[in-house]
Structures are given as structure tokens and as C-alpha cells.
């Protein structure tokens, strides 16, 4: 790269061409003050504080001025310092000192400069200061705006527009009266602001500050700062929690550098953590009182008799339980489980672990179920999430994980986003997509319900619900017909293409157009965009997976990538966006009925022997039941005893009326959770667990990035750490577990999981590591290849990973971002096309139930709301349920926007307010499933995908009633 040599404060230095003076100065020492500039933001040079003298008529802003050959720069001459002092004086004259930031976190950057230049009590412009009043905007539940403290540095504007790309904030007005404004200068709380707080993080003064959530904000030096991660989604943002240790309370949270999130957060991560100290936390073990047998639901909402409580009403449910000691509770569970095992065999027992728990907890949980109880009936919510995607990926390319990481979207020239609403469900990943798009990456969005990302799309295809296979087959048809297939890739890296070609020949766009509702020409355009792109990444979510043909949907996406040669290079690949913070890790750790840790099949005898040796007991040679199958088995009496760790199937599983019967039918149910959940109403024993914020553990995000979550506060009352509870229980079940620490558990997990080779607590600090991790030239563990999950697989292929050799030389190496550069971990080393025919959904609309229900999430809430509805800020932002209905359908029914309506399916009915939205297409409605008082899963269908065993949450027939 070209370099330029300049003199900076008398010192000669060479920098790469394109370096700004500010960057050059920062690298060698002199600290040039800046208010508008921040290294992560595009420099704009508006505050002028960073001016330097380069010998010209005027001074230049060093943040925007590039170094030039032979330039002589004075960074702090008296002339320069005089101007900086006056600039500070100008801003301070109108500044409400101390501003909200200075009064709380004590880090207003303007006031710091004021102190530096001795201007606080000595401002030559004080007489002309304008202490504006009435300029505060407190309409947002989480962010306080004080326009009088704003210095118009535009950091918030860039943070909102160019970092998070939420595009809410701009300058409004002109000249001296200019202010920042939200949308059309609306109050922040009434604008399209999504409360990510990036503006607050960027603001140098008290113009934008966090409202207190628990305790008042205090200077950073007065809090304990804990480096951890976010407990919510699979993006796995790195966070620093600022903790008041004496009060055992988090005070505020901040994005942390080093992780994939680059310091960014969304509303849940930044403002949604106070559930941990909610008054409803369980603090003592509970045992169901004898008079509350036979078992059944306790609250009105769970009984299905109406009720509008957003949280379980403890006054209503707690009388059913009495407090107990840990010994009593654990002994009771152990004795009941052992009795059931003795009487009905180990397969009468089942356990749901949780993707909210750590890798260590997932590992110990499945180990206990398998080694102590002898059953493979262990599963978790991955079943409800990406089970079908994983089935298709294992079958097609031999590995269920993502082939490239989400920030690599910046290297794609085309992104296909389908069945995914990332601004809501993976908000921080979405920021990387939006940034890429703003820099020129093209975007195709395919989704029956319009996601915000469609605003950024070059093509948005609002297909008819459930017609994905038809649509993608048509796209593939065009790729073949117009010869846009990557023949070399297909020849060298894949097999079974001929079968695909034969099948998609039957799907010309003209035939598919009426099926999926997309004009044939648009299908062709999309196909040409796919076929002519250099690098394409496909991101997908539950809109693909949660169908009875979810595996087929994913097979089509895999075929699209393979046919165009888009796996194995940066900026390409298959990325099912993982939902839970640790759904990847919990699956990696073996919380799946068919596989041990690292997807080693339980029905493979060699594998089973390996685990029998490692765990010292004989293991069940037959794979276990999946989540929905277990519920079915509970109903029929095949499964009699269950342990639930942090899962809430009553709200998360389809067809709740059936789940209610199943949970009631269980002979014995133990629930280990932080609150008395809807599911716990059916429990015999409830154990007070620890929240994410109370424990140490590792979590694996959607990018295969393994990071450490650290304890920030102590568990309340007698609540215990979950890994210790599992060890205690396992020991009482006759299978002693003794570990010093989660680190020791992790070491055992990695010793049995080739993918996790090389990872340990010592090297996971900071931003964590991405598996597979090959520092240096270590050989790739042979066992990494050819693993199988739900589908039978042979194991033999020797390599996985793109850049195994020589990566030690790469500074900052954190693991393999891109997989399968040369071969796939399949027996042949090739990927397989799996052609599939289009099939309709299971529960189709008819005259009686004319509408199609789609379910999903909202930005502010998480799954069954156990956490988020007890997070005060999130609850304030989104207090209750709604059903989105197209205005035309509302009009057809004669319903008003906001009117409460009944939504009925063939399985049940709920009442909730209707919300007009043209994001859903006519004939479709959408309901988020977080809300217990109007649980969407009362309506959903528990029909399963035959391969992934995932239920069809995204499609069932409903009708609207008065």
C-alpha cells in the first residue's frame, strides 16, 4: 500500500495513504480532542474541536483531513489551542452544566473539555449563554432526551443511520435553532425508534441518556463492570454489565467490543435485564400440596378460562405449593424418577433442557438423562426452531451449523433473506445486513409477511404462505433454463444434480406464479440476480423451518447455494439464524435425542461405546423422542416422569389444549426455573434456579462463536446454580457427578467433542472463539468430518474447514469463519442435492376457517415472556398481545383497528385486540406467541415435519369472530 510521510509536531512519520491526521496522531501519541468524531463512526468534521494547523489560511479538521506527503502538522500550538478553547466556550455557554450525563455517569465529554480549558466558571461567553428550558423529551420509556444539552455532533444521527441503520434520527431545522429530530420531528417515544440505545451510547453529552431501570445511574468508577454476553438471541452480543454489587443489582448495560456485535446492542440486550431481580423470582424449593392433586393448571389463563394477567398471579397459584428444603425436594425428585424407571423402564422418563442454559448445563443435563436415568428422551427447543434446517443441512452438506458468519454479509454482493425478520429477532445481525446493503450489497427478501428488511430490498417477494418450495424450484428452474448454474462447482463439489434438474424442469415460472403469487418475470429477475452474483449468502429463520415441509424448504435453499457455487468462500453460504442465545451450543452439547455431544449418533455403536467408556455406564442404544413426541407420549402414558430445566412448553409448544392434557397426565413433573412458569403450575416439585446473570458458563452463538457468560449478581434466597443442581440430582439418582467448576465441565465436553477441540476457559475471554478453531497448523481432527444427526451417516472424510493450514500466522485469528472451502464433511466429500416436490401445508384454510395464521415474535419480547414480561422497560414498550390483520380483512369483518376479537382455529380460540397492518397479506393474520393471556399456541397445529419433527407454527387455518 502507498504510504505518505509527514511531520507531526516536529516528528516525522509514515502512514498508509488514506490515513486521516487524527488517526495518525492517535497512533503516535498526541491526543487530539474531538466531540463529533468517534473511531467507529464515519468522520464528519462538524465540531471542529480536532482542528490542527497545516500551514494553510485556515485550520483543518484532523478527523476528515487526510495526511499528505510532506505535510507539516501542528496539533496543539497556542493558536490551535486558543481556537479549541473558544469552541468549547461557545458550546458550554448554552450547555446546562452539569448535564444529565455529568450528573449520573459523570462523563460528559464537553464538560471535561470545559474543565481542561478552565471554562466552567470562567467562560467569556457566559453572558450570552442561552439556558434553554422545556426542551426535554421523556416520551421514550428507556431514553431521556434533553435538546438543551445537544451539541449537534451528529454522533447519534450516524449511530442510528449508519451503524444500526434504523434511520430514525436526523437534523431538523437550520442554523442556530437546529435540533436533532425523530422521524418528522415526533417525540422519541412516538417515533419509529426501536429503542436500541445506540444513540445513547454514541452521545458525548447529556442530550441522550439512559433512563434508570433499577437504581440511579452512577459514575463508572462506582460500579463493578462485568464482561459477559446477552441472554437473549443467537446473535450473542458481547455486553459489559455495570453492577452495584452492594445492592446486588445491575444498573446499566453497554455493548462491548470484541464479539461479533462490534459493541452494538438491541433493546432487549441493553434494557431487558432487570427480570433477574423481579419480585417473582423463586427463592425456595416448592412441593405441591396434597390437596392440589389430581394435578392440573392453577391460573385462569392456564386453565384456558380467560384471564388477563400478563404474569402468573402468585396469589392464585402459590397456595398450591409449600416451601421445602433442597434435600427434601431433590430426594423427592430422585425417588420418584427411580421409581418410574424401575416400574416402567427408563424410556418412561424424559427431560427438556434449555437453549437458554449454558453449554455446561446442557452437557450435564443430557449426561444425567442418559447416564443416570438411561434414556435418550432428552430434547430442547431447538426442535421448535431449526430442527428441520439442521436435518436438511446434515443431509445435504454433512454439517448443521452455519457455513459463514453473519458479519461476513459485508463480503456478499447478494443476500437472500427468507422466512426471517432479523430487525425483530436478530436485530444486531440485521445491522450488519443493512450496512452491507447501504454499501451496495443487493438484497432479495422472500417472506409472506413483510419484514422491515423489505424496505432495504431490491426485490421483495411476498409469496403466498407455505409456497416456498414452489418458489425456489422455479428459481432453480430459471437457473437451469438460462444456464446460470456453476457447472464447475456442481461437477467438483456436489452430487445428484441431475435429479434436481429433472425435478425443477417441472416448475417453470409461469406454472409457479399462480401458486406463490409472484409474477413469472419477477421470479426470473430474482433467479438472474442469484445466478449472476459473485457471492451470495442466504440467511433464513423460522419462516423456512417451522412448517411440515420445513426440511424441504431448507433443502431448496441448500440447492440454490450449491447450484451457484455459493458455499465455502467469504461472503457466501448458508446461515440459518439461530434463535436462542445457546441453541447452537445446547445442540452441540448433545441436548438432542438422536445424538451425543457434537452430533455423534446414539445409534452408532462405535460412538456409543466411546461414550459408555467416557461416562462409565451402559447407554440406551435407541434414539429418544423429540419435544412434541414426548408431549404426545405423556398424553398416552408412555412417558410418565419429566424434568424441565428452563423450558416452558405450555406456551411454547403447539396446540396448547393438548399440552395441558399432557402435562396434567404426567405422573411426576419437576420444573427447575427462575419463575413459577405456566408449565410449573403442573409440577410436583419446583426448584429455584439461577438466572443467566448469576452464573458462569459458555454460550455458542449462531456464528459458532463460543463466549463466556459471567456472574454479575448473586442468586436470590436459596436459589442455586443449575449445574450444581444437576450434579446434586444426578448423584441422588445413583450417578455421582462432582465438578470443581463450569470450566472443568467444559473441558470434559470438549474432550468428547472434536468440534470444540482447542477451546478452554483460558482462551475464551474477550470475544470468545469460533469453532472449529485451528490455531497453528494442527491437523483437523478426523472425527470432525462425516458426523450425522437425525439422519444416518457414515464417518470417514478427513477434512473440514477452509483455512486449516497456516492460520496461526493470521493475527487476531479466532476460529474458522468460513467452512467447507475444499470439501464437505460427508462420506464422499461432496454435497448432495435433495430435490423436493411442492406440498401444501397441513391445516389448510376452507370456508369455515378462511384465514392463514402465522406466528412469531416482536422485538421487545422473548419467547414465552417469562423474562421479558418481567423486564420493566420491555413490558412498558410492549405491554400486550395483538393480532395483525390486513385492513381489507378488518373491513370485510366490520372490525375496527384496535377492537378486541376472537381468533379461532380447529384447536381452540383466544381473544385479543386486532391491529390493522398491511405487512400481512389479505387472507393472513399474524400473532406473536409471547402473551399468556392470548397464547397463540392455543391455535397452532402440532403436525410435524417428518424429518426435523418440527411443528407447523407458521401455518394453520383460523377465523375471526366478534
Amino acid at each position: 500500500m502507498k504510504s505518505v510521510t509527514l511531520t507531526l509536531d516536529g516528528r516525522s512519520l509514515s502512514v498508509p495513504a488514506g490515513t486521516t491526521i487524527w488517526e495518525a496522531a492517535k497512533a503516535v501519541g498526541p491526543d487530539i480532542p474531538a466531540l463529533c468524531h468517534s473511531p467507529k463512526l464515519r468522520p464528519v468534521g462538524v465540531c471542529r474541536m480536532c482542528v490542527v494547523d497545516v500551514g494553510g489560511r485556515v485550520l483543518v479538521a484532523s478527523c476528515v483531513r487526510l495526511c499528505e506527503e510532506g505535510m507539516k502538522v501542528e496539533t496543539s500550538s497556542p493558536k490551535v489551542e486558543r481556537q479549541r478553547r473558544m469552541l468549547t466556550a461557545l458550546l458550554l455557554a448554552d450547555h446546562p452544566s452539569p448535564c444529565d450525563k455529568e450528573r449520573t455517569t459523570r462523563d460528559c465529554e464537553l464538560e471535561a473539555l470545559g474543565r481542561k480549558y478552565d471554562l466552567i466558571h470562567n467562560n467569556p461567553l457566559q453572558a450570552h449563554g442561552r439556558q434553554s428550558v422545556g426542551l426535554s423529551d421523556l416520551s421514550s420509556p428507556v431514553i431521556a432526551v434533553d435538546h438543551s444539552a445537544c451539541i449537534l455532533c451528529d454522533r447519534c444521527v450516524r449511530a442510528c443511520d449508519e451503524v444500526q441503520c434504523n434511520e430514525v434520527i436526523g437534523r431538523t431545522g437550520k442554523g442556530y435553532p437546529t435540533r436533532i429530530g425523530f422521524d418528522l420531528d415526533s417525540p422519541m417515544g412516538q417515533s419509529t425508534c426501536v429503542s436500541c440505545g445506540e444513540c445513547v451510547a454514541a452521545c458525548p453529552t447529556g442530550a441522550l441518556t439512559n433512563k434508570p431501570i433499577t437504581l440511579p445511574l452512577v459514575p463508572r468508577s462506582e460500579t463493578t463492570n462485568v464482561e459477559s454476553v446477552c441472554p437473549y438471541c443467537g446473535v450473542g452480543c458481547a455486553i459489559t454489565y455495570h453492577v452495584n454489587a452492594a445492592a446486588n443489582t445491575i444498573v446499566w448495560a453497554e455493548g462491548r467490543d470484541g464479539g461479533g456485535n462490534d459493541g452494538r446492542l438491541c433493546v432487549k440486550g441493553r434494557y431487558g435485564w432487570d427480570y433477574a431481580t423481579h419480585e417473582q423470582r423463586l427463592t425456595k424449593p416448592l412441593i405441591r400440596r396434597p390437596e392440589f392433586y389430581p394435578k392440573g393448571p392453577l391460573s385462569r389463563e392456564v386453565r384456558g378460562e380467560g384471564g388477563k394477567n400478563k404474569r402468573v398471579d402468585y396469589a392464585e397459584v402459590m397456595p398450591a405449593f409449600r416451601e421445602a428444603t433442597w434435600d427434601e425436594a431433590l430426594d423427592l425428585i430422585a425417588s420418584k424418577f427411580l421409581a418410574i424407571k424401575k416400574q416402567h423402564g427408563p424410556r418412561a422418563l424424559a427431560g427438556f433442557g434449555s437453549a437458554k442454559c449454558s453449554n455446561e448445563e446442557a452437557y450435564l443435563f443430557q449426561k444425567m438423562m442418559r447416564a443416570a436415568l438411561g434414556t435418550n428422551n432428552v430434547d430442547h427447543c431447538t426442535r421448535l426452531c431449526h430442527a428441520s434446517s439442521v436435518a436438511a443441512l446434515l443431509e445435504g452438506i454433512g454439517s448443521g451449523s452455519v457455513t459463514d458468519v453473519y458479519p461476513d454479509a459485508q463480503h456478499a454482493d447478494l443476500i437472500l433473506l427468507t422466512g426471517s425478520n432479523p430487525t425483530v429477532n436478530h436485530p444486531v445481525a440485521a445491522t450488519f445486513f443493512k450496512q452491507a446493503i447501504k454499501k451496495g450489497t443487493k438484497l432479495i427478501v422472500v417472506d409472506p409477511r413483510r419484514p422491515t428488511m423489505a424496505d432495504f430490498a431490491d426485490w421483495y417477494c411476498q409469496i403466498r404462505p407455505g409456497t416456498d418450495v414452489a418458489f425456489y424450484n422455479a428459481v432453480l428452474h430459471v437457473l437451469v433454463a438460462e444456464d446460470m448454474v456453476n457447472h464447475c462447482y456442481v461437477r467438483d463439489r456436489t452430487e445428484n444434480f441431475d435429479a434436481l434438474r429433472e425435478l425443477v424442469a417441472k416448475y417453470p415460472p409461469e406454472r409457479v406464479a399462480p401458486v406463490c403469487g409472484i409474477p413469472a418475470d419477477t421470479i426470473r429477475e430474482v433467479a438472474r440476480a442469484v445466478g449472476t452474483s459473485r457471492n451470495m449468502m442466504i440467511f433464513w429463520g423460522m419462516g423456512i423451518s417451522q412448517h411440515t415441509h420445513g426440511t424441504d424448504n431448507a433443502r431448496c435453499l441448500i440447492a440454490l447455494c450449491l447450484a451457484t457455487g455459493n458455499v465455502g468462500r467469504p461472503g457466501t453460504g448458508l446461515h440459518p439464524l439461530r434463535g436462542q442465545n445457546n441453541v447452537q451450543g445446547a445442540s452441540d452439547a448433545g441436548l438432542i435425542p438422536m445424538v451425543y455431544p457434537d452430533y455423534q449418533p446414539v445409534e452408532d455403536e462405535t460412538v456409543r461405546k466411546k461414550f459408555e467408556v467416557a461416562w462409565g455406564v451402559p447407554l440406551d442404544p435407541k434414539k429418544g423422542l423429540t419435544v412434541v413426541e414426548i408431549m404426545g407420549a405423556a398424553l398416552t402414558g408412555e412417558v410418565k416422569g419429566m424434568l424441565m430445566l428452563g423450558e416452558n412448553p405450555f406456551l411454547s409448544d403447539p396446540n396448547i389444549n393438548k399440552v395441558r392434557k399432557a402435562l396434567s397426565a404426567l405422573e411426576f413433573l419437576a420444573v427447575q426455573d427462575i419463575f413459577l412458569t405456566e408449565t410449573a403450575e403442573f409440577a410436583d416439585v419446583v426448584l429455584p434456579a439461577s438466572s443467566f446473570f448469576e452464573k458462569l458458563g459458555t454460550y455458542t452463538n449462531t456464528d459458532r462463536r463460543v463466549q463466556i457468560g459471567r456472574p454479575t449478581i448473586a442468586p436470590p434466597g436459596e436459589a442455586r446454580l443449575d449445574w450444581q443442581v444437576i450434579c446434586e440430582l444426578s448423584t441422588r439418582l445413583g450417578y455421582p457427578m462432582r465438578y470443581e467448576s463450569p470450566a472443568q465441565v467444559f473441558d470434559e465436553l470438549t474432550s468428547l467433542s472434536p468440534s470444540y477441540t482447542g477451546l478452554n476457559y483460558a482462551n475464551l475471554s474477550g470475544g470468545g472463539k469460533i469453532w472449529p478453531y485451528f490455531p497453528g497448523t494442527a491437523a483437523v481432527p478426523a472425527a470432525l468430518a462425516g458426523r450425522a444427526g437425525d439422519l444416518p451417516r457414515q464417518s470417514s472424510a478427513p477434512t473440514v474447514g477452509a483455512r486449516a493450514a497456516g492460520t496461526a500466522a493470521v493475527p487476531g485469528y479466532i476460529g474458522e469463519l468460513v467452512l467447507f472451502a475444499d470439501r464437505f464433511p460427508t462420506p464422499s466429500g461432496r454435497a448432495t442435492f435433495v430435490p423436493c416436490e411442492f406440498a401444501e401445508a397441513a391445516d389448510l384454510p376452507d370456508a369455515e376457517y378462511p384465514l392463514v395464521l402465522n406466528t412469531g415474535r416482536v422485538l421487545e419480547h422473548w419467547h414465552t415472556g417469562t423474562m421479558t414480561r418481567r423486564a420493566s422497560a420491555l413490558d412498558a414498550l410492549r405491554p400486550g398481545p395483538f393480532v395483525e390483520v390486513h385492513p381489507a380483512d378488518l373491513a370485510k369483518h366490520g372490525f375496527a383497528d384496535g377492537q378486541e376479537v376472537t381468533v379461532r382455529s380447529r384447536r381452540g380460540a383466544i381473544r385479543l385486540p386486532a391491529k390493522a397492518s398491511d405487512g400481512v397479506q389479505p387472507g393472513s393474520v399474524f400473532i406473536p406467541f409471547h402473551f399468556r393471556e392470548a397464547a397463540a399456541n392455543v391455535l397452532t397445529n402440532d403436525a410435524l415435519d417428518p424429518f426435523g419433527k418440527i411443528p407447523e407454527f407458521k401455518f394453520c387455518a383460523v377465523r375471526l369472530e366478534e
Binding site: G18, T20, K40, L41, R42, V44, G45, V46, C47, R48, M49, V51, V58, L59, A61, V64, R65, L66, K79, R82, Q83, M86, L87, L90, L91, A93, D94, P124, L125, A127, H128, I151, L152, D161, E162, E167, V168, I169, G170, R171, T172, G173, K174, G175, Y176, P177, T178, G181, F182, D183, L184, D185, T192, I437, K438, K439, G440, D455, A457, D458
Partner: protein
């Protein structure tokens, strides 16, 4: 992210400012529902429209009153005495003060529902308000000395099109002529054209800056009305020389009468494949700053860019762009047709070429005068009929509101780039403002500073806050001792010329009339 990274909203396909202008024409104003619809149709965030609508004075978010009287508040009109018209405000009549409307030759001036009017007195205006609106007609065109064509026009560009070496010849002639930019900065025109010609990247653009808005400045209006063919030909030659296929006339919206003349000339012009778009500015003096103008053309707030890079290499849409003033372009055909020597001879010794100067303030015959460059201020005052009312000269600003004021005893200074710089002022925008004895110079200082405060875009701190504080000081006549320090920070650290010079005229007044500091 480094400098020069362009954030592309490539999903934006509509041009927003024309879209907003059209919507306002249709609906009368830009209501919130209209803006929401537009944002959706154009697929842009709401704040992008808010940023524009709140920045540009042309846009309104409330329905227009039946009668809207815009009263100019700036220096020429101030000197002429602005009638008190606030009493007419109310009901369906709105009276509001606005920045200079470019009709300083008929000061005190205003706009009645957009039509330029001379605000002679309250009674006359009252009559208009109740029904009889005055008509406005431009005087018939006159031929100016810089026009090389007694009859047949566009000769220069026609010969150029057949001449493979024509471009180099033009640049050589321009350099030999000594033609400098007539918009204020005075950059050598030949050099600028050569720089853009040398750029390899295409497309390139040619922009004619017809956004003159500085108080006292109205010479470009005259050229657009009287010799639009010269402006067009200058742009055509520029396109030929620098290799551009598109030109834009960026016209201030108060010049709609002149636009009609320009449009008519454009319809007759031998464009030869070159496209000229007339872009009507949504308003604001700052758009005369060339990079603010570019920002406006790119649908953003007219906030000047940090320079370098300069428009010659990174201009419109980051492409090489030639931007010249109306008068600069109008001078080019003569130089190309008749040669540099012919043109130089229109000036005086050592000061080549002709110059249009708008004379306003306390003179008998305010108007635009073409004089040889190097003519003295005194001569020009005589040409304009002398100081009005037979009064004595007190002070003058030779280059518009942003030029430093000089006292009467400097009236023999020659109107020339270098001579005025030596005298501590500048030729600026070609606007001579005359003040007769009896005027309150501190009030003139406050008036001029208010203009810059009012027209500051607000992008950078020194200009946004500094201009406001300077006005407060001058109006309250307090802390005037801090004004030089404030002037220094504004001059040295403001992004563009507006902030750099905003306090200079006031400081020049305090320098020449030190007794005013005492208040």
C-alpha cells in the same frame, strides 16, 4: 470506516427535492400525511424528508395564507428603510421577514405571493393585500459589452465542435485572458477547467451556479434575463472542454421571472446532445457555496462539505464536476470567439476584462453596471447617479455583505481582485453597497451579521453558535471586546466561507469606527 466512504442509499430511486416540490405544488403544503406517503413511495426514512423540509425555506408544512408578504430584512433594504408592515399580519394575510430576495435595485423589496414588489409604503401594500396585486415585468433585454455577438449567436461553440484541438485552445485562451471566477472566490477559470478536463472518471458534470443570494448582489439575475444565450453557450463550451454531457443551472427560486427568459433561450439553443437541466433551488444563501449546492442536488441538506476533496475531482455524486458562476460562463463565449486580447481590453491597465457590479444602498440609481475591471468606487458611484439625496459618502462594501467595509476616504480604490485585497476587503460577489452619512454603522454591522446568522446552515459549531453569539453581542452592544476572538475562531475553524467571514464585516466596522465599541 475511513474518509470518502460513500453510504449509498441505492434503494432510493426518486429525487426527493423535486418530489417534495411537486407535492407542495399539488397539495399547497407538505402535511404530515403527505410526507408519510411520500416517504413510503420513495422508500426513504421519514427523517430524510424532515431534514429537507425543515431546512429549505421553500417548503411549508402548513397551508399557505391567501396573501403572503415576504419582506426583505437585509442591508440594501435596511438602508432604504423597511416600512412597518407587521400591522397587516393576521387572518389570511401573513407578513414575514425573509433574507435578501435579490431585488436590491428596488429596495425596500419584498415578495407578494412570490412576485417581486417594491415596498413603497404601508398604504400601497394594503391595497395589494385587499386585491390588486402588482405586476412584475423584467425590463427589455439590453446588450452587454461582454456579448461578442452583434447578431448570430453560438458561434464559439459551433466552431469548437468541429475542432479536435478546440478544447486545448479554449483552456489556453481562458488562461491567457486571466478570467477568474466571478462568484466571489476568484479562482482562475482556465486552471479550473483544465483540472476537470484532466480527470479520467466519467460521467462529469457542468454546473452553473445561479444562486446568488448575498445581500446587495443581483448581477447574475441581470445576465440571466438579458444574455441567457451567453450563459448557455458558456456551459456548452464547458461541456465540450471538460467532457461532460450534462449541465445543471442551479437557480435561486426568487428568480422565476429570469427563469422564463433562460428557458426560452434554452429552447432555441443548439445543445448538440448536451443536456441542461434547470434546477430551482429550494432556498437559502448557503446553497451558493458550491458543495452545499451539490448536497442539495443530491437531496440532502445544503450543508457544505469538508474540503478537500474539491468538486473538480469529487463533485456531484462524487464525480468530477465543473462549477462556475453565471457571469464566469457568460464571459467565456466572448473570449473563445474574439480571443483573450479582445476580452482583456475590456478592462483597465493590469485589470483585464469587464465586470458587472450591482450597486445598491444610498445611491440615486441602484442597478447593475458593467465597467472595466479596475474602475474606482468613486467612478462607479458617479455612474450610479451619486450618493442619494446629495448626502456625503460614509462607507461602502465593495463585494457584497461578506466583504469588509471601507470608509469614505478609500473611495478611490479600484474595483479589482488584488487592489481590494490590498485595501483589506474583496471584490467578492460583485456588489457595491453604499452608505451615506447619518447611518448607524453598528446597526449595519448587526444587520449584516444577522444575515449570516440567519443563513448559517448550522452544520459546524463555530458558525452555528458563533454567529448567534456575535449577533447577541452586536444587538446588546455587550462583550464587544470578545468579538475579535470570536471572529478568529470562526475564520479559522468554520467549514465554509460563510462562517469564515460572518463576523469579518462587523469587525471591519469596529476597526474603522472604533468609537462604536463604546456602545
Amino acid at each position: 470506516m475511513g474518509v470518502g466512504v460513500v453510504v449509498v442509499y441505492h434503494h432510493v430511486t426518486m429525487r426527493l427535492i423535486p418530489l417534495l416540490t411537486a407535492a407542495q405544488e399539488t397539495h399547497g403544503h407538505l402535511s404530515e400525511p403527505v410526507l408519510r406517503d411520500l416517504a413510503r413511495a420513495a422508500n426513504v426514512p421519514l427523517h430524510r424528508l424532515q431534514q429537507l423540509v425543515s431546512f429549505y425555506p421553500h417548503f411549508r408544512t402548513a397551508p399557505p395564507p391567501r396573501v403572503e408578504l415576504a419582506v426583505c430584512r437585509d442591508v440594501a433594504c435596511h438602508l432604504a428603510g423597511i416600512p412597518k408592515l407587521q400591522e397587516l399580519h393576521g387572518g389570511d394575510v401573513a407578513v414575514q421577514e425573509v433574507s435578501c430576495v435579490g431585488r436590491c435595485d428596488r429596495a425596500p423589496a419584498g415578495l407578494l405571493n412570490g412576485t417581486p414588489v417594491h415596498l413603497g409604503g404601508v398604504d400601497a401594500v394594503k391595497r395589494w393585500v385587499t386585491g390588486e396585486a402588482p405586476a412584475f415585468a423584467l425590463p427589455p433585454p439590453q446588450r452587454w459589452a461582454l456579448d461578442p455577438y452583434p447578431d448570430e449567436r453560438y458561434g464559439a461553440v459551433r466552431t469548437l465542435r468541429d475542432d479536435p484541438a478546440g478544447a486545448d485552445r479554449v483552456i489556453a485562451e481562458l488562461k491567457a485572458s486571466g478570467l477568474r471566477g466571478m462568484g466571489g472566490a476568484g479562482f482562475p477559470t482556465g486552471t479550473k477547467w483544465e483540472l476537470v478536463r484532466q480527470e479520467q472518471r466519467t460521467p462529469k458534470y457542468v454546473i452553473c451556479n445561479a444562486d446568488e443570494s448575498e445581500p446587495g448582489t443581483f448581477k447574475d439575475a441581470k445576465l440571466l434575463a438579458d444574455a441567457p444565450h451567453l450563459v448557455i453557450e458558456g456551459m456548452l463550451i464547458a461541456g465540450q472542454v471538460v467532457g461532460a454531457a450534462k449541465g445543471i443551472l442551479f437557480l435561486r427560486h426568487e428568480y422565476l421571472p429570469e427563469k422564463a427568459r433562460f428557458d426560452a433561450a434554452l429552447a432555441d439553443a443548439p445543445l448538440g446532445g448536451f443536456e441542461i437541466e434547470v434546477f430551482v433551488s429550494p432556498g437559502g444563501y448557503i446553497l451558493g457555496e458550491e458543495t452545499a449546492l451539490l448536497e442539495c442536488l443530491e437531496d440532502r441538506r445544503g450543508e457544505p462539505r469538508n474540503k478537500p476533496p474539491f468538486p473538480g475531482t469529487h463533485g456531484l455524486f462524487n464525480q468530477p464536476t465543473l462549477i462556475n458562476n453565471v457571469e464566469t460562463f457568460a464571459n467565456v463565449p466572448g473570449i473563445v470567439a474574439n480571443g483573450a486580447d479582445w476580452w482583456r481590453a475590456l478592462g483597465t491597465d493590469g485589470c483585464p476584462g469587464p465586470k458587472l457590479i450591482a450597486v445598491s444602498g444610498h445611491v440615486e440609481k441602484p442597478g447593475v453596471y458593467q465597467v472595466p475591471l479596475g474602475t474606482t468606487v468613486r467612478q462607479l458611484i458617479e455612474l450610479a447617479g451619486g450618493v442619494s439625496g446629495g448626502r456625503k459618502l460614509l462607507a461602502f462594501a465593495p463585494g457584497g455583505a461578506s466583504s469588509n467595509w471601507l470608509p469614505a476616504d478609500r473611495a478611490d480604490v479600484r474595483l479589482d481582485f488584488n487592489e481590494l485585497a490590498k485595501a483589506g476587503s474583496m471584490l467578492g460577489s460583485g456588489a457595491l453597497v453604499i452608505v451615506a452619512e447619518g447611518a448607524d454603522m453598528l446597526e449595519v454591522a448587526a444587520n449584516v451579521t444577522r444575515f449570516f446568522r440567519n443563513e448559517s446552515c448550522g452544520k459546524c459549531v463555530p458558525c452555528r453558535v458563533g454567529s448567534e453569539k456575535a449577533v447577541e453581542m452586536l444587538e446588546s452592544r455587550k462583550s464587544l471586546d470578545v468579538l475579535p476572538e470570536l471572529g478568529e475562531v470562526m475564520a479559522l475553524t468554520s467549514i465554509c466561507g460563510l462562517g469564515q467571514v460572518a463576523v469579518a464585516p462587523a469587525l471591519s466596522i469596529l476597526k474603522h469606527w472604533p468609537e462604536l465599541r463604546e456602545g
